[in-house]
């Protein structure tokens, strides 16, 4: 096929470009010195520092909480949106709805952040409680809803509608059909959507920073502040922990969501090359 060795080298080069910076972070997390880019002896002192860092632990816990809440809300709102996108057909405003649902995915984050700050600080909307954890949760839910809607909508489109219609014809109420038939069929997309939303929320800096008040420092907000205050190998140690945790999670998720059915569905004879 095209390229041969050249193509293979290109692929390897791109993978190197993607992974060398991450490997460097990991290597220098084991330094005994204070410099983040030199190995002055090996030690685990920066992991010990990580374990004692109370401020960081609080930020991690807050990020996990906001991430879980935002992902859950995004799955609920995003799934409802996907049902409307796929099943409601053309109605007045359907094109506007499609645009509104996909815009947060491409809209620059500073604009989304600024717009939500204006909402949460608006004098007439004091009832929303101003900036803080709830505001960050709303921002993340809004952003992630768009991603969940796209994922779930593509799964709904592939789904065999005969199952639902059979249940409806047999007199099952629509809401029950949705929870007993539709939800199990689209469950992998719901799980994938939840995980994607959770990571997007855990990773977001711009929205969280614009919408945070002094009591709501998420992990990225804390990391960004520290990157401005001077670099320490402790951040390398943090990065290493995150890379390990994420790699394990992605492997598990891949196994659970895609692994067995895909492997069974692809006959080994179908080899391209």
């Amino acid at each position: 096929m095209s390229g041969g060795w050249g193509g293979r080298a290109w692929v390897l080069g791109v993978y190197a470009f993607l992974y060398v910076p991450i490997l460097c972070l990991i290597v220098f997390s084991f330094t005994a010195g204070e410099i983040t880019t030199r190995l002055d002896g090996l030690s685990l002192r920066w992991y010990a520092a990580l374990a004692r860092d109370v401020e960081l632990h609080a930020a991690v816990l807050l990020s996990l909480r906001v991430g879980a809440l935002a992902a859950t809300a995004a799955v609920v709102v995003g799934t409802a949106a996907a049902v409307i996108l796929v099943r409601a057909g053309d109605y007045p405003g359907s094109r506007f709805f499609l645009g509104m649902m996909s815009a947060p995915m491409v809209m620059p984050e500073v604009v989304v952040g600024l717009s939500l700050v204006l909402l949460f600080t608006h004098p007439a909307l004091a009832i929303l409680g101003g900036r803080g954890v709830a505001a960050i949760w709303v921002a993340h839910t809004t952003l992630c809803t768009a991603y969940v809607a796209v994922l779930v909508a593509s799964r709904l489109r592939e789904m065999d509608r005969a199952l639902e219609e059979a249940a409806l014809d047999l007199g099952c109420p629509p809401l029950k059909v949705f929870f007993v038939i539709t939800v199990p069929v689209i469950a992998p997309a719901l799980a994938a959507g939840w995980l994607l939303a959770f990571t997007l929320s855990m990773d977001d800096f711009v929205l969280a920073a614009m919408l945070s008040d002094p009591g709501s420092t998420t992990l990225p907000v804390l990391v960004f502040a520290r990157l401005h205050h001077g670099l320490k190998p402790e951040i390398n140690a943090l990065a290493t922990v995150i890379v390990v945790v994420v790699s394990i999670a992605v492997l598990l998720a891949n196994r659970l969501l895609l692994g067995p059915p895909r492997a069974a569905a692809q006959p080994s004879a179908a080899r391209g090359g």
Binding site: G3, G7, V14, F17, L18, P21, I22, C24, L25, F28, I35, T36, T37, R38, G78, A80, A81, V83, I84, R87, M100, A103, P104, V106, M107, P108, E109, V110, V111, L114, L119, T121, H122, A139, T142, E165, D169, P174, T199, M202, D203, F205, V206, M210, P220, V223, F224, L227, I235, A239, I242, V243, V246, A249, V250, S268, A270, R271, G272, G273
Partner: protein
């Protein structure tokens, strides 16, 4: 089409649709209307730091709308000063920098990502999922920490990793100033946005009908001709999708120019951030944001219109 009563389904859809419609109208569309409103406000030392154009009343006490175009006027003044050499045009410079950086990022991602995605799509089927997952894995780890990795690689002192290597090999005698310039920002942007280019390209190229390429070759086309006249036109949709996924967020990017560009690279994202934060000039931040969104959306709408008209004509 269906046996069950359509009206019951209609009611159900209304209630299902209510949640996403209400959520997105209130937390996405309304906030955007507020940006437009604040962009026409007057900055003020208050909380929040602006006076809304709806704040005043007419002589007889009825609510009045008095927009303050000062923020847009500042952008207009900079545009008018284009002819004057040496004039200070911070906002226009930020726009130009951002668009240029985003365009270069898109181009580099495309040049790097296209051959990569092409090879990936032709890899043995059993390996494709793993290869694709390896592209996505860095994307799942912390974005900030990946940018931080480049701060260590590009560091301009002799402890910077690339400088260490170059000094060690004797290629240079003095450490190179690699960090805090446009090049550093570009590398960081390409690194962060590459997966967004690769995924749509891969999704498109994996569906490419190889028989078309064979037919072209059998008819005597040279490899370059096959690529230019068959592969490239067929993958145009993937190129457009990937380019949009990279270009649009890249124009508004704040974190990478801030961390890798230092004080030297001003972009729209940073300008909005500064006016919103330290400068406390929310109307200006809002006006800059409105102009950026219009700038980003206008070509998409035009492209869409054009595409539909072309589709109808065909």
């Amino acid at each position: 089409m269906r046996a069950h009563p359509a009206s019951a389904q209609g009611y159900g859809r209304f209630w299902v649709g209510l949640l996403p419609w209400a959520w997105m109208l209130f937390f996405f569309v309304l906030p955007f209307a507020l940006i437009v409103n604040v962009s026409l406000s007057t900055p003020d030392l208050a909380v929040p730091p602006y006076v809304s154009p709806f704040a005043g009343t007419t002589a007889d006490g009825a609510p009045a709308f008095r927009p303050d175009p000062a923020s847009y006027a500042r952008l207009g003044d900079e545009l008018a000063a284009l002819a004057t050499p040496g004039a200070d045009r911070p906002y226009l410079a930020a726009y130009a920098n951002s668009v240029l950086l985003a365009a270069l990022t898109t181009l580099c991602c495309l040049l790097l990502g296209y051959p990569f995605a092409y090879r990936l799509a032709r890899a043995p089927e059993v390996m494709r999922n793993t290869l694709l997952m390896l592209v996505m894995l860095p994307f799942w780890t912390s974005f900030l920490l990946r940018v931080y990795a480049w701060m260590g690689l590009l560091d301009s002192s002799e402890t910077g990793l690339i400088n260490q290597a170059l000094l060690g090999l004797g290629v240079v005698a003095e450490p190179l100033p690699l960090l805090y310039n446009t090049g550093a920002v570009l590398v960081g942007m390409v690194y962060s946005y590459l997966p967004f280019m690769v995924l749509p390209l891969y999704a498109n190229l994996v569906k490419l009908d190889l028989r078309l390429l064979e037919a072209a070759r059998d008819l005597g086309a040279r490899p370059a001709t096959v690529f230019l006249r068959v592969t490239l036109p067929l993958s145009l949709r993937g190129i457009v999708a990937g380019s949009m996924l990279v270009f649009i967020p890249a124009v508004g990017e704040f974190v990478i120019p801030d961390l890798l560009g230092g004080g030297s690279v001003m972009t729209i994202g940073r300008s909005i951030w500064d006016d919103f934060g330290p400068n406390q000039d929310w109307p200006m931040a809002a006006a800059v944001a409105v102009v950026m969104v219009v700038m980003l959306i206008a070509p998409i709408v035009l492209l869409h219109r054009h595409g539909r008209r072309a589709g109808r004509g065909a």
